[in-house]
């Protein structure tokens, strides 16, 4: 309730005292909402992803050098998602995220055809991860590949 200081008017006394009533109901609902917040905040935090496991993985051993002949591919775990390692028919090593940019399916290398294929909606990517045909909206994310002793290491660029 606002008062005009220049011409102060005493508010009319009302037997039901609506100001007090509305103050009480506002106070009770505010406290009630705060209470619900206190109860549901831990529940919400509890239900959220507990630990971002593997999201921060920077590099991983994708395969042994001997494992991968020319014109073949291998899917490996990179953090919490699959990635694909490909040795092209020419013997070059390439690595991409194996998660199709369309709807999260896992792609595969098709030997002899020089492309990466997604079985869900026939999306095709070339050996640089670019979309050749089908619904994928973006190219596959490419990773750095290098050899270290017996191992092939893949890391985020």
């Amino acid at each position: 309730m606002e008062f005009d200081l220049k011409s102060p008017k005493i508010p009319e006394f009302q037997p039901e005292n609506p100001a007090r009533r509305s103050f009480l109901s506002t106070a009770i609902s505010t406290v009630g909402l705060a209470f619900l917040g206190f109860v549901f905040y831990p529940v919400f935090k509890y239900l959220k992803q507990p630990l971002a496991s593997g999201i921060n993985v920077k590099s991983t051993v994708a395969a042994k050098i001997s494992e991968l002949p020319n014109d073949s591919g291998k899917i490996f775990r990179f953090g919490d998602a699959p990635a694909i390692l490909i040795r092209t028919p020419e013997g070059q090593l390439k690595s991409f995220s194996a998660v199709c940019t369309h709807l999260d399916c896992t792609v595969q290398y098709v030997p002899g055809k020089r492309h990466i294929f997604c079985a869900c909606h026939s999306g095709k990517y070339d050996l640089n991860g670019r979309v050749i045909s089908g619904p994928p909206p973006r190219p596959l994310e490419e990773f750095k590949v290098y050899e270290e002793g017996e191992d092939i290491i893949v890391s985020r660029t």
Binding site: P42, V43, K45, Y46, L47, K48, P50, L51
Partner: protein, 351 residues
């Protein structure tokens, strides 16, 4: 207002409120005991909510159970709080059940027409003991493992079918991962469903018959208050208080996890059952190894079973209070039970 009309003309809101408004709660010096049933109901709801939350991360297998509980306690946000509230709420629920049971007994609220209210109450009490026993095993730690070994071994003393019953509970001759999964099924589905059904009947009966006015108050002028909203608001206040107590206890005394169960280690020294089983445990210890050629433990189990059946049938045995007369014998029996249970429990704790 339009929404209110839309709903009330389609849902039985008015009818339900009318029933609740008609219900009167007697006001007298023992009235605070009427809160106990509501407290039990509230704690059961807390158990359902926290139990379902724990279920989201718990893994019921011999190899993973302990690790998954450890994960809840250390990695999941507020996991320690949810688990501690579940454990504390279980313990306070047992206290509230004991108090509810004994106040009902001493005030003779089981008198006609409330016999079935009493009997459903006893069945719920036993179901809650079962929930406590089965839930205790689920973290698969040393204490849980050995407490379950001993607890299921006591079942073997039931005459004639003890061994069969024991192997049925354990799912084999020993406590193994098979025991864990069947205790899990009992704890999260079978017993809760039984409890929900019996509690539903119990609550319908309480609605139908209303709260019992104690015999001690029969001669005094009858005062009462409406259940809705007067008593319900008081109930809600008590529930808030209980939640505060639960949270404080869980914060300052969170539940431990202990060491993972190792069937090839010796039983830890000083192992004891949970406090609500302690009086039974101490009582069975009192029996000598042999009584008149029978095994003492068998006699003890049979005795406990007979007492249980008598308690279940008390409304039909207490003929005096059924006629609304004082029945001092049953009052004495009630106090005798309380004294024995408290005494045996204290002895068990100190033992």
């Amino acid at each position: 207002m339009a929404i209110k009309e839309f709903l009330t003309s389609r849902l039985p809101i008015k009818e339900t409120l009318d029933i609740l408004k008609r219900k009167e709660v007697p006001v007298h010096r023992f009235s605070p005991f009427y809160y106990l049933g509501g407290i039990c109901l509230y704690l059961l709801m807390v158990q359902v909510v926290t139990g379902v939350l724990l279920l989201i991360y718990y893994s019921p297998s011999e190899t993973e159970a302990y690790q998954s509980v450890k994960y809840i306690m250390t990695k999941v946000s507020f996991g320690w709080l949810i688990r501690s509230i579940h454990a504390w709420s279980a313990n306070i629920l047992m206290v509230a059940l004991f108090l509810h049971l004994f106040s009902t007994f001493l005030l003779k609220a089981y008198r006609p027409p409330r016999e079935f209210t009493w009997m459903t109450g006893i069945l719920m009490f036993l179901t809650c003991l079962g929930l406590g026993f089965t839930g205790y095993l689920l973290p698969w730690n040393q204490l849980a493992y050995f407490a379950t070994k001993v607890g299921t071994e006591i079942v073997a003393a039931v005459p004639f079918m003890g061994e069969v019953l024991k192997e049925f509970l354990r799912g084999g001759t020993n406590v193994t991962g098979v025991t864990l999964t069947r205790f899990f099924a009992l704890h999260i589905w079978i017993l809760p469903m039984m409890l929900a059904a019996i509690a539903g009947l119990h609550l319908i009966l309480v609605q139908k018959h209303g709260m019992s006015r104690p015999l001690l108050e029969a001669s005094k002028p009858k005062k009462s208050m409406p259940f809705f909203p007067h008593f319900l608001l008081r109930d809600l206040n008590v529930w808030l208080l209980v939640l505060a107590v639960l949270t404080i206890l869980s914060f300052y005394f969170p539940t431990h996890l202990g060491e993972p169960a190792d069937p090839l280690s010796p039983t830890p020294i000083g192992i004891k059952p949970e406090w609500y089983f302690l009086f039974t445990f101490q009582l069975l210890k009192l029996f000598p190894a042999h009584i008149l050629g029978f095994e003492g433990e068998h006699i003890g189990i049979i005795g406990l079973g007979i007492v249980g059946v008598l308690v279940f049938l008390v409304p039909f045995l207490d003929k005096k209070s059924a006629k609304d007369e004082r029945s001092p014998i049953f009052t004495f029996v009630g106090w005798f039970f309380i004294a024995s249970i408290v005494g045996l429990t204290i002895w068990g704790v100190l033992d």
